[in-house]
Amino acid sequence: MSASKAVFKAYLLAELLRSRGIVYGLMGMILWMVMFILPMTLFRPQNFPVEVMSGYAFTAILVFMSYSIATWDWAWELRWLMRANILEYVIASGRSIYVLYTGIIPVSLLWMTVAITVVYAVLSALTAPPKLLFKEPLVLTLGIVLLVTVLFSHSMILGGTTISVGTSGPVMEILGWILPITTGGLVPLKNMPSQVQAIALATPYSYPAELIRYSLLGSETILPLQQMIVYGVLYAIVFLVASITYFNLQLKKMLKEGVKTVGMY
């Protein structure tokens, strides 16, 4: 517990508090949002309600940001530790490597809460307040829990690969863009081409995103709701177990072979 607290404090200070990190972080995020949202508004027909468009943009950003956190805060952190020669000390301390995550995840969730509030405010200013229905709050809660579970598993796979082969930045970047697109993270699956629908449903990522959109936007899920829930829960559990097993195997491999040397990026 003391180690978890220490890690939490360290990340809270480094990521959010030191040098007004949260202010710079939010400013950067708002500008990226403006850059991508402005062109999307050029697609909106006059008769399409602007608040509905804003709601679509809100959920797309929510899911995309969640993917980014899993990729860059949770998985990429291991690469930072390797590059800064800290990972060896973490291992030598005798603590579980998962202690790191007990500190990082609350900081990420804290950031996410603030960020998503700011997203709402920016969208309201740029277009209109997003129209969010909050239909069946239990479905929304389940969707969020499943999303966190799936994304933690995702970070375990990426993190495991990173400590095993020193995955590079470009690989992470490509995955960070491709995955949300191809797994139905951004757009309701009903609006996607059938090939993308098939790919998305074959991955565990699409189910939480569909549940969240169902509750927030009232968009119809591609499979009946009950099926989405059952498949989503089962898939998330299987993915979590598989990813932790994979990560532990890579960790063992690293302990045998030593920590890899990685480049700057």
Partner: protein
């Protein structure tokens, strides 16, 4: 050590890395397509291509593949100049670089060139095929013109990136946080994804202070057919060149200032 020697060293350094890590090479080719796909999917889900054509004057696929390519070229130059001192500092190589007997200014001018050349070549896998598909042979000519103009836009961006780099690093502090704000701000103002002429007046005025924004406007005029007369094109390139000439000496001074600060500080452990 002259400029060409430094450039040769940079070329070897970057290309060895890019060809060793094929993922980097793949990223150069894939990025414009990924960005296009990202915007089109979300855009189509809440509207239609015909509305976009009505407002902007060109098919969104053409507009965004070109935007993605321009973004890669300009962002590449900006990132190389803005991030390199930090990467060198984190890796511990900065003291060696500062103490090496080469002109710091020449070094920083040479840094973005290898990656920029690679991005420009990648125009043949993004802008050119898409324009060829839509417009046939005429598209090929347009594609080549866009690549050349993008090269100018990216080179002109180096001057303002040098000014920012020198000033930012000269003042000290945690530079990466500020860079993470400045990067997207410059990209918004460049008007790559949202044409400058659609920005509010204040945005338009600030945007006009960035040399490359005028070249981006020239490219968008070619694409959309919005008054792409030779006179307007030369005027835009002329304004961009004048701003580039204005900023370059400030950029040079700014890098010299940063170098002096670093030498004054000494090596930090």
């Amino acid at each position: 050590m002259g400029f060409l020697d430094i450039l040769r060293a940079e070329l070897r350094f970057v290309y060895a890395d890019v060809f060793r890590r094929k993922s980097v090479l793949f990223m150069f080719i894939a990025y414009p397509y990924i960005l296009t796909l990202f915007i089109l999917l979300v855009g189509y889900s809440m509207g239609s291509a015909s509305v976009f054509v009505e407002r902007v004057g060109v098919d969104p696929a053409i507009f965004f593949i070109t935007s993605g390519f321009i973004l890669m070229a300009i962002l590449g130059v900006g990132d190389d100049i803005l991030w390199r001192p930090l990467f060198d500092e984190w890796l511990g190589t900065l003291p060696y670089i500062i103490s090496s007997p080469v002109s710091r200014v020449q070094h920083y001018i040479s840094i973005p060139i290898p990656r920029l050349l690679l991005v420009l070549v990648s125009g043949s896998t993004s802008v050119v095929p898409v324009l060829l598909y839509y417009y046939g042979l005429h598209g090929l000519v347009e594609g080549v013109a866009i690549i050349l103009l993008t090269a100018i836009a990216a080179i002109f961006f180096a001057s303002i990136a040098m000014v920012i780099m020198g000033v930012l690093y000269g003042f000290g502090g945690e530079h990466w946080r500020a860079i993470n704000v400045i990067r997207p701000l410059l990209l918004v103002l460049l008007g790559v994804y949202y044409p400058k002429y659609l920005l509010p007046l204040s945005g338009y005025i600030v945007s006009s202070l960035i040399p490359s924004s005028h070249i981006v406007e020239a490219i968008q005029r070619i694409l959309t057919g919005y008054n792409p007369s030779l006179q307007i094109m030369f005027m835009l390139i002329g304004v961009a060149t004048a701003l580039f000439i204005l900023y370059t000496p400030i950029g040079v001074k700014s890098i010299v200032y940063w170098e002096k600060r670093k030498v004054g500080e000494g090596v930090k452990i």
